[in-house]
Symmetry: C2
Subunit: 211 residues, 2 copies
DNA sequence: GAGTCCTGCAAACGCTTGTTTGAAACTTAC
DNA sequence: GTAAGTTTCAAACAAGCGTTTGCAGGACTC
């Protein structure tokens, strides 16, 4: 009991702090301080800071990947050929179903995903590739029939363009929202942003098939 | 003479190393070691590590912003209304004109731009906003007539979606290219990627006017 | 040629980092 | 109630960080 509580509290604090400041910029002392546990607890329960970073990702991604897979299979039973919009919808719907619609945990974690790409944590990228590479490939494989006429190279690049759009937006979500509030005077609802984002991605992806 | 050489060598080394590892992960000892100058030289010539980071951006962005402005004005004289494609073309053309077509300095710097967004360097974002905010707004102002029917909110979000696509792709350029080479077996030319990228961005941006 | 200014250098400063240690506190089982 | 096994804790560790210091060497003026 006491152990699980400590582990969970460390993960909670680490998830939030990593998302706010990045991995290298967040010290174990800051994390354990926020979690209200002893400094040595991280190395005792996780082994190292690197292992803690990976554990944060596993706790979030394992259920999400499973849910995406589930919804993908479900959808495939009712529809012979999935559209690009279907596939994007599965992603957002899976996040909504697990965390609720207005969850800031989801947007905070998206920032973590962005950091995983841009910060120099070679061990993390290797780890994520090994653990989730197959699931990612499986998801992308559904995109191919949805975009007839696209070559393999088209598919690869357009997928990563779309991925980049999403990750960048999510990882700078709060900053962008603040800027937009400054510009237009009103706060944009999350729904609006997400639907615009998926529309932008879909438009870009469809472009692959037309050239 | 000797001074300029030292300053320039520090900037060269810092630009490459920051792009490779990030700001916090690159120590002044690494930079001065690679540059072949004394450790104290950074604080002597720049004042602090933060000031060095800003100087790296200024050296790259000042000429680029000026060139974009120049090409924008030139284009406006021959054409009454600029298209989205025109505006994107001005950006890539400016980079090409300054650094040549196959420059890795340009792609490396794009990675720096991405880091500026995602790494926790509040001073950098503040600095970039103060120094280049006006030029950015001026550029975006040309986008409004190019996308009739788009509201102010549309314009803001779609601009940043496109920005995100570009920054993410550029900042992970080498990694993406290596992955694609692994997948398809052949190395994708830079031209191909850039033209696909701008096409993707244009398709997404046009989508703003149609909803 | 003395004086002034700029630059380069080795060494040290104080501080923070991730990790380890060894003993104390607690839980569990017989 | 004692023994074994977990978990917590304060303290210390070595290493790395950005920055500062004081001096040595060169370049320049007058």
């Amino acid at each position: 009991m006491a152990q699980k509580e400590t582990v969970e509290r460390i993960l909670d604090a680490a998830e939030v702090l990593f998302a706010e400041r990045g991995f290298a910029e967040t010290s174990l002392r800051t994390i354990t301080g926020a979690a209200g546990v002893n400094l040595a607890a991280v190395n005792y329960h996780f082994g190292s800071k690197k292992a803690l970073i990976q554990a944060v990702f596993v706790r979030f991604l394992d259920p999400l990947v499973a849910e995406v897979e589930r919804q993908l299979n479900l959808l495939q039973e009712t529809k012979a050929r999935l559209t690009v919009e279907d596939l994007l919808q599965v992603l957002t719907q899976s996040v909504y179903d697990i965390h609720g619609k207005g969850s800031n945990r989801a947007t905070a974690f998206m920032r973590l995903l962005g950091l995983a790409y841009t910060q120099s944590q070679a061990h993390l990228r290797r780890f994520l590739g090994e653990r989730y590479g197959e699931a990612f490939q499986h998801y992308v494989s559904h995109l191919k029939p949805a975009l007839p006429g696209a070559t393999a190279a088209d598919l690869f690049w357009h997928t990563h363009f779309a991925l980049g759009t999403a990750i960048f937006t999510m990882s700078n979500f709060d900053a962008l929202r603040a800027m937009s509030e400054n510009d237009t005077g009103s706060r944009t609802p999350v729904d609006f942003i997400v639907s615009r984002l998926t529309a932008f991605m879909a438009a870009g992806l469809h472009n692959a098939a037309h050239e």
